[in-house]
């Protein structure tokens, strides 16, 4: 039996004396979509950043596609695509160059980079600096940067925040593609009733303030 895309065991994280996550266990199966829900400050982004490896939990283990995040960091990260809540906008880099960078990181061919660039909905702005993009454009660009390769787990933190209607349609199409490829999707959104998520079989994991 193959390993689940995500297995979180007994995860705990506290900031100062404030516990944010306490003994959290979570398993996400192939092609499953899980929405992490909860009020502001409940630890949704903390959970996602812990799984993405940009925050180290105080306790617990995280395995992505069977690879322990601590023991096999490169293999675990190769199976992961992570869209953070704040899109990075490096200075002096154009949209196309950033796509090429992500393509290189995820082992995509130049043809695949061209294909993603052509279908990302930013064709007219790809040669412009990322710093000149609007919030929604940055979101779209970063989302498209995750399309390379075949991930086992996709983490999306507020993926459609600031994205227009056509961008949301493209997002939903890609979400369906990932699911049909067997990738698990873990996301947070404050707009669960948005048409983007219509008829999407989604398990909801509720986080409460510990």
């Amino acid at each position: 039996m193959s390993a689940p895309p995500l297995l979180v065991t007994d995860l705990a994280k506290r900031f100062g004396n404030r516990p944010v996550l306490e003994g959290l266990c979570l398993e996400v199966g192939p092609a499953e979509v899980v929405r992490i829900s909860g009020p502001n400050g409940a630890g949704k982004s903390t959970l996602l950043t812990c799984i993405a490896g940009t925050l180290i939990p105080d306790r617990g283990r995280i395995a992505i596609a069977g690879h322990d995040l601590e023991g096999a960091p490169l293999l675990a990260r190769a199976a992961l695509r992570y869209l953070p809540q704040t899109s990075p906008s490096p200075r002096g880099v154009s949209g196309r160059e950033l796509l090429e960078f992500y393509g290189k990181v995820y082992g995509a061919s130049p043809a695949e980079v061209d294909r993603v660039a052509a279908g990302c909905g930013l064709e007219g702005s790809l040669e412009a600096l990322v710093t000149s993009y609007s919030g929604g454009m940055k979101r779209r660009l970063m989302f498209n940067a995750l399309r390379f390769g075949r991930p086992a787990l996709v983490i999306l933190d507020e993926p459609v925040a600031g994205v227009d209607r056509s961008g949301r349609r493209a997002f939903r199409a890609q979400l369906d593609r990932w699911r049909s490829d067997g990738a698990a999707v873990l996301l947070t959104t404050h707009e669960p009733t948005d048409h983007t998520f219509e008829a999407l079989p989604m398990r909801v994991v509720e986080l409460d303030t510990p």
């Binding site: 100062g16 940009t54 925050l55 180290i56 990260r77 953070p84 990075p88 995820y106």
Partner: protein, 375 residues
């Protein structure tokens, strides 16, 4: 990878320091070679100190390093990129220092050569030592099992000023400087001995000695890289978490009331930010500014009254600069800032804003007092 832009930060302080170095060294042209070399050692270390953060920023501190923590990028790539950056910025600092050394018009050529070789030694040692220390900081800047000796050490030497996992970074910069000086000093002393034996004609021997640390480079580079590769995925998030919390507790201290009297809202905001964030950056500024004050004193530096004035000046700047909000303030003493030297929890918040706010007033005032006392 997106570039790391720290140039202004790295050069802005090094340039005035180099000018102070050149001016002061020029005025002490008549001292013995030994004294001159001691003087140069102090300035060399200061010059390396003001740029240590700028040089070693991309190993773990840069935001782009954290952003790449979720990507399957081998840490060896990040290491090579950081080492390239470190050497590039170091070469800029080397050139600035060399400018300071070579503008001592009153000195003999052999003395200038000795000073230049001294500085070359320091920079060669820094090129070797700093990346290695960054590798060590990655290795020891993460969480160890509860009863592990390093975990005990992290707790005991941190004093609550940062997360135990990031404690090593409080010491890494100073450690790198100390080790650099320790590596360079024997070579410098050998050069001094060789120069005093044959002053009139400089030989190539000192050059060979000065470049000797480069022989260590491959081994230390390999060693540091192994440490970095094995630990950076884990230690970088800890460092960034500690940096975020070092900016102060979630609820900041109340700004002093007089800030409300500033009519311009932008300036009011700036002053408020200055009062809350000035502590650590101003520490870096202290070196060059103290030496600038010393430059004002000219040849009277040895006078007790001048030394007292300089001490007053430095302490006036240092006391507010050392007031750093402890990271665990949310745990121990909400909304409070505690002096670095004092036990946590002793002072209340009332003492804080005025001291910080007075920092920009005290520094110029002390400079004027120093100047008046001297002249």
């Amino acid at each position: 990878m997106p570039r790391v832009d720290v140039w202004p930060h790295g050069v802005a302080i090094a340039l005035p320091l180099a000018v102070s170095w050149a001016v002061l060294r020029h005025e002490r042209a008549s001292v013995s070679l030994n004294e001159a070399q001691t003087f140069d050692l102090v300035f060399g270390v200061l010059m390396l100190a003001v740029g240590v953060h700028a040089r070693n920023f991309p190993f773990q501190h840069a935001t782009s390093v954290l952003q790449s923590a979720s990507l399957p990028l081998p840490r060896a790539l990040m290491w090579r990129r950081a080492v390239r950056h470190q050497r590039l910025v170091l070469s800029v600092h080397y050139a600035i220092g060399l400018f300071a050394v070579c503008t001592w018009g009153a000195l003999q050529h052999s003395e200038i050569l000795l000073a230049a070789l001294d500085w070359t030694c320091m920079c060669c040692a820094a090129a070797v030592v700093e990346p290695w220390v960054s590798g060590a900081a990655a290795r020891w800047g993460r969480r160890f099992p509860e009863r592990h000796p390093i975990a005990e050490l992290q707790r005991s030497i941190g004093g609550g000023w940062t997360r135990p996992e990031a404690v090593v970074h409080l010491y890494a910069g100073a450690g790198a400087l100390a080790l650099t000086a320790a590596v360079a000093m024997p070579l410098q002393l050998m050069m001094l001995a060789s120069m005093t034996r044959a002053v009139p004609s400089p030989s190539w021997e000192p050059f060979t000695v000065a470049l000797a640390p480069l022989a260590l480079l491959p081994m230390m580079n390999w060693w540091g890289q192994r440490w970095y590769e094995g630990a950076a995925f884990e230690s970088t998030p800890w460092l960034h978490e500690a940096t975020r919390t070092l900016a102060g507790p979630p609820t900041p201290d109340r700004a002093p009331a007089w800030i409300r009297w500033i009519p311009d809202p932008a300036r009011r905001m700036q002053m408020r930010q200055f009062c809350r964030t000035v502590s650590l950056p101003s520490l870096r500024l202290l070196g060059p500014t103290a030496w600038t004050a010393a430059a004002l004193t000219g040849d009277n530096l040895g006078d007790p009254i001048v030394l007292a004035a300089v001490a007053l000046y430095v302490s006036a700047g240092l006391s507010p600069a050392l007031r750093v909000p402890p990271t665990q303030a949310t745990e121990r003493l909400p909304c409070a800032t505690v002096p670095l030297s004092g036990p946590l929890g002793r002072l209340t918040r009332r003492a804080l804003p005025w001291t910080w706010a007075l920092c920009p007033v005290i520094l110029p005032l002390a400079t004027i007092v120093t100047y008046v006392l001297v002249t």
